[in-house]
Amino acid sequence: MDLTAPFYQFGALGPGSGLVVAVLIGAAFGFFLERGGLGNGRKLASQFYLNDLTVFKVMFTAILTALLGLFWLGQVGVLDTSLILLSPTYLVPQIVGGLLFGAGFVIGGYCPGTSCIAVASGKLDALAVFGGMMAGILVYGEVYPSIRPFAESTSMGRISLPELLSVRPGVMVAAVTMLALGGFVLADRIEKRRGNRLVQPE
């Protein structure tokens, strides 16, 4: 069937065109992140002072959109979701990684993708974050042999939430939808109560 996706796995896209797709997808990704204000360090950080919850809104709208798209494309048989790469879970290292990442995020002001966008709009501090990130990865690479036992601990394999909780995928999709919509209503309310101190472009 010609229509079946992912196209790359079914050979409809050669390795060369896969790389063209990479640039196009990256460009569209960067474009929408910047449109939403995620290239602005103050806007990103304001998320963590509850003044401007744009980061939460953009992220969870994106997750919800892709989640619903994946689910329904899989249901109508256009997309074979079993062929989509699911990263393996290493629970404790990922939780520790998340805590450190959050700390680094609020201190530095950008996450990896958004630092790139801020560099593109001329922000020197974003360049410093990007440089620091390279240093951090270099350090990790150098100490990797000694932290490897921890980094590979609590391995759970490739596992999704519906599998973990043994519920139907549809139930999980509905639950995440409700959670996200509830979160959006709450986020709008928090912003309003704090006087709509949204970060504007400079």
């Binding site: 390795p15 619903l68 899989g74 249901q75 139907r168 939808t177 919509l181």
Partner: protein, 199 residues
């Protein structure tokens, strides 16, 4: 208001997901799976024959006599759809039907079920799948690492049935060494770093 509109769309799509039953609409091969007959994958049928022979199995080849003479699954009997009325198949056996693809086997499956045979299966993808997956297996490009482990098993099956596996590119079989990058050839996009890490 655009926010309301988006919210209601999400509510509709997310809420109706609740009504979707467990069974996915596509099988792992990406083709819509017909719900009206039971399928057996070529690889699992091969594994079963390799382990236990055809004991307890009746393999029914529904293809033309010439095709049957040139090759058939070892132990299969040839029957034409029209002969099935007279043919007495061992009722206690598991019956596996196969065709070139899968087309006419589904009808025969229904017929046998109607005659009261308890355990009847159709070879998924028919002889074409048997040839591709058992006799001449090859690694499709861009597949995950789990496939590599399975591939050793597939070669074993292929040799057992006298087929010839299409060897996977050398870089997939050789243990990891500096990433072999033959000149001019683009790298796979599924290169995975330490600990199964793509992102």
């Amino acid at each position: 208001m655009i926010n309301r509109l988006l919210g209601f769309t999400a509510l509709l799509l997310g809420g109706s997901a609740l009504l979707v039953p467990d069974r996915p609409a596509v099988d792992s091969a990406g083709t819509p799976s017909p719900a009206h007959h039971d399928l057996v994958a070529a690889e699992s049928l091969a594994a079963r024959i390799m382990a236990n022979g055809t004991a307890g199995l009746t393999l029914v080849d529904l293809r033309a006599p010439t095709a049957f003479d040139s090759y058939h699954i070892p132990g299969a009997v040839r029957l034409e759809a029209g002969e099935l009325g007279q043919a007495r198949l061992p009722e206690a056996n598991t019956i596996v039907l196969y065709d070139d693809a899968e087309s006419s086997a589904a009808g025969v499956w229904l017929l046998l079920k109607a005659q009261g045979y308890a355990s009847v299966y159709v070879l998924s993808g028919g002889m074409a799948a048997w040839k591709d997956e058992v006799l001449h297996p090859a690694l499709p490009p861009g597949m995950a690492r789990e496939t590599e482990a399975r591939f050793g098993r597939q070669m074993e099956l292929s040799r057992f049935f006298g087929g010839s596996p299409v060897p996977a590119p050398a870089r997939r079989i050789t243990p990891p060494s500096p990433r072999p990058d033959s000149a001019g050839k683009k790298k796979e996009s599924f290169d995975i770093g330490p600990g199964g890490c793509f992102y």
